[in-house]
């Protein structure tokens, strides 16, 4: 494994002590409670120049960093110190190996933005040590279902939540006839599965499916022959919407305005369901947007937001408990009275059956917020937020299951 240790960086450790903020803790005699959190993600390879909006360095970690400052401000009044360590992995580096030194130091609170299989492996490694993992990156539904873990919380929405949000909106508009265009990758297949389930749940009809077989056109523009095929592939399909499943962002943006009949595009491009978006300013969101821009000089992205929620959730539980014991934090966050303010109106909370954060989902196009789900009129006996994603009775995550 060449270069492994060179690639790993335990970078930018933050220790925001109370004194740094100019406060003097009231009960100075007592040693402060130290709350240590680690953020784990792979360093991003630089994007090719034609990517207009490349993932910025620090995506995810920056959200965690902002939340840590907020936790530290509250902590300064309560004699609590918060610390955040950034574990930035090389491309081929194994997160389970990378965090071993942290576990040896007794760290028990982890936030990750990792692919699903690595998230699961990390959760299992942490479980043996009684440590918690907050998944701020992976949207895979199986992590909330058959692959759920008692020490694994999800602040990233599941794909089911995202596509349910979109199909609630399509139901309200009565745009019921869908042409589904899945991409070639495994993530696209998973997104397409979620689309099919949501269509069924909210009464839309997938009138046709046309897998995208023309290559990543939006990124490699000069392929005239496949371009012609791409322009006609949807001809004659009587659909209201084209829903694309293209998580790699290779072709979804290419379809809008290039179909033979005029068709709207939604899904992974066009009108997108997301946890966070620069156009969202209601419910006090403007404050969070401003704080983030001020700190990072860039816009907050969904993974930043999801990491922000994870660190805030830990902070809120510590505030309530006046303790940082991971099991107590887990119990508090799953408790019936636990709420989180996440700037999307209704209070967020963790579903006790799969530890997925219930949260509203935004529906956005690049420069305009189109809607917010749950849409009015979608009701649930417990919480309208539970109209999004897999409900308790359908969940494959069973109590007692590791």
């Amino acid at each position: 494994m060449p270069g492994l240790s060179a690639l790993r960086r335990f970078g930018r450790a933050l220790a925001l002590a109370s004194l740094a903020l100019g406060y003097v803790a009231a009960a100075a005699a007592e040693p402060p409670l130290k709350v240590e959190i680690a953020f784990v993600a792979h360093a991003r390879a630089p994007s090719p120049p034609y990517v207009i909006d490349p993932p910025p360095p620090g995506e995810g970690f920056d959200g965690a960093r902002l939340a840590l400052q907020e936790n530290a401000t509250t902590g300064a009044f309560l004699n609590q110190i918060f610390d955040l360590q950034n574990v930035e992995l090389g491309e081929d580096e194994n997160p389970v190996e990378a965090i071993k030194p942290l576990l040896a130091q007794g760290k028990k609170l982890f936030v990750s933005a990792l692919p699903a299989n690595e998230t699961l492996a990390l959760a299992d490694a942490l479980k043996a040590e009684g440590a918690l993992l907050f998944n701020a990156g992976a949207t895979d539904d199986f992590l909330r279902g058959a692959g759920c873990r008692s020490n694994l919380f999800h602040t990233a929405p599941s794909r089911a939540m995202l596509t349910d949000a979109l199909f609630q909106y399509l139901a309200v508009r009565r745009w019921n006839k869908i042409l589904l265009v899945p991409g070639p990758n495994a993530e696209d297949a998973a997104y397409a599965d979620a689309v099919r389930a949501s269509a069924k749940k909210f009464g839309a009809k997938i009138v046709a499916e046309k897998p995208w077989t023309f290559g990543p056109l939006a990124r490699a523009r000069s392929d005239a022959i496949t371009q012609a095929e791409a322009l006609t592939f949807s001809r004659g399909v009587d659909a209201d919407m084209v829903v694309v499943a293209d998580e790699a962002e290779d072709f979804g943006d290419y379809i809008l305005y290039r179909t033979s009949e005029p068709r709207l595009v939604a899904g992974t491009q066009g009108l997108i369901p997301v946890s966070w978006h620069p156009t969202h300013t209601a419910y006090g969101a403007e404050q969070l947007q401003n704080r983030f821009v001020r700190m990072t000089k860039r816009r907050m992205r969904p993974i930043d937001y999801q990491a922000w929620i994870a660190v805030r959730a830990i902070g809120e539980a510590v505030t309530e408990l006046r303790a940082a014991d991971p099991q107590k934090i887990a119990n508090t966050l799953q408790g019936p009275n636990s709420t989180l303010a996440i700037f999307k109106g209704a209070a967020a909370s963790f579903r006790p059956w799969d530890r997925q954060l219930r949260q509203a989902i935004l529906l956005a196009q690049p420069k305009s917020l189109v809607g917010l789900a749950p849409q009015p009129g979608f009701l649930h006996q417990r919480s309208t937020l539970d109209t999004l994603g897999v409900d308790e009775t359908e969940s494959a995550c069973k109590p007692g299951k590791s």
Binding site: T74, F77, N290, R291, T339, A341, T384
Partner: protein
Amino acid sequence: MNALRLALLACLLASPAGATRLYVTNEKSNDITVIDSDTLAVTQTVKAGRRPRGVGVSPDGKLLYVCASDEDGVQVFDTTSMKLLRTLSSGPDPEQFVMNAAGDLLYIANEDNAQVTVLDVKKNQVVANVPVGVEPEGMTLSPDGSVLVNTSETTNMAHFIDAKTFARIDNVLVDKRPRYALFTPDGSKLWVSSEVGGTVSVIDAKTRQILKKLRFDVPGLTREEVQPVGMRVTADGKTVFVALGPANRVAVVDAETFEIRKYILVGQRVWHMALTPDEKYLFTANGNSNDVTVIDVAALKAIKSIPVGQAPLGVAASPN
């Protein structure tokens, strides 16, 4: 704004009763709607700065103060001419404020920078910046003027601050997203509304212990729809009105027994409220239905809704 409201009452008692004017800030149409409390009609609409939110009248009734949140200033209007006199430099993103009884100091919550700015309004000079929690919002002053309270929405605390030295006396943890704070007229209790927590905490002002947490179980609504924001208390200290946001209702609470006497249906997304000095009417600013509901306080009934600008948030009453 108890100190101020009491000052207004004193003012009213000293002079023959006349029509009260209500000033409503409209966040999205960037204007102020003026309503006459006798005719319950709009008399004037005045252009304001961008995103007007917090609003209050000087103790002598002559000046109207409006937070222009997106312009980082507090605008001062002459209440007779409704002309803009000047803009005070408040610090970034002012949202709510309280004024002292003398009418010379404004205590402003600057939501974007985690501090309370104390501003001398005559000199247009910042007297002090007091660091508080993240996203300061609710501001109130004890009736004797000695204790300033600020709530911080993300830190979830009510900060008790000495109004003379600006030293922090205590910080009380409350439920999520505390938005508004109110002293009872005798100064013995502080009420704090928590928008996301869905509760109101009643705090003993001396011991700073939470005496009671009120929940609002509105029939037919889920817990998440109940988001307490603005509050007002009657001068006798017996009744507190709590605006419940997207629940579209005002809760009427017995301030002694904490019993919830009634839920009054108002417009959509009710934010802040104002009582007329004679306490005949309560006006509520309804952010999503772009109107103001007038509640008959004696009958505890909504009697009229008055269309105003877009996204009304704040409302203040003047004695003249």
